[in-house]
């Protein structure tokens, strides 16, 4: 099925370890986003991309890095994992930069840092 695919679905990391959360979409969307979801806080934007090779910071970028080498893929890298990065991470994509277009979300990655 067409959509946004995130892997892995669950992961436990030890403090100081690193990992990459994968996100791929097959809808030829130029615009992709990474959000984290914490209880009672809604979703906060980490990074976004408007096309291959172009990324920018969102509201909470510290401790994360992204790259966008292709239209389809938008991986999120965690370096030196900390307990504060325990969260559910969602990747999303959109067909337009115009504000009226909604997002297509992936099913999320639940990350626990211990």
């Amino acid at each position: 099925n067409a959509g946004v695919t995130q892997t892995p679905k669950f992961r436990i990391l030890k403090i100081g370890q690193s990992m990459t959360l994968q996100c791929a979409q097959d809808m030829n969307h130029n615009y992709m986003y990474w959000y984290r979801q914490d209880p009672g806080m809604g979703l906060k934007l980490i990074y976004y991309s408007v096309g291959a090779g172009i990324t920018d910071k969102g509201e909470v970028p510290n401790g994360y890095n992204v790259s966008r080498s292709t239209t389809e893929d938008f991986p999120l890298r965690l370096e030196l994992a900390a307990p504060s990065q325990t969260s559910v991470y969602f990747c999303a994509s959109s067909s337009s930069l115009q504000g009226g277009y909604g997002y297509t979300f992936g099913s999320g990655t639940r990350l626990t840092v211990v």
Partner: protein, 114 residues
Amino acid sequence: AQSVTQLDSQVPVFEEAPVELRCNYSSSVSVYLFWYVQYPNQGLQLLLKYLSGSTLVESINGFEAEFNKSQTSFHLRKPSVHISDTAEYFCAVSRQAAGNKLTFGGGTRVLVKP
């Protein structure tokens, strides 16, 4: 910058009773408004959106939301809920003139009881 406040973190409701989820936003510019629904262990799905025109918008599964510019609100209602409406609901806004970055409220968890 814009912000979104969902006034209720949890709303318990009996099956076939009405429900209203409140959402207020603040922004210095015109915005687009969205409601997303998140079923347990899933990603977010677009429920409905207001872009322009009629201030009352409806979804295919019986929800409706009304945009009130003077009160900067976008409350979500359903006249009769089902068990399957148990989910978390997120209100979100994006600025009309500044790209498609969504700002989310903290979410309202709806628990429908038999």
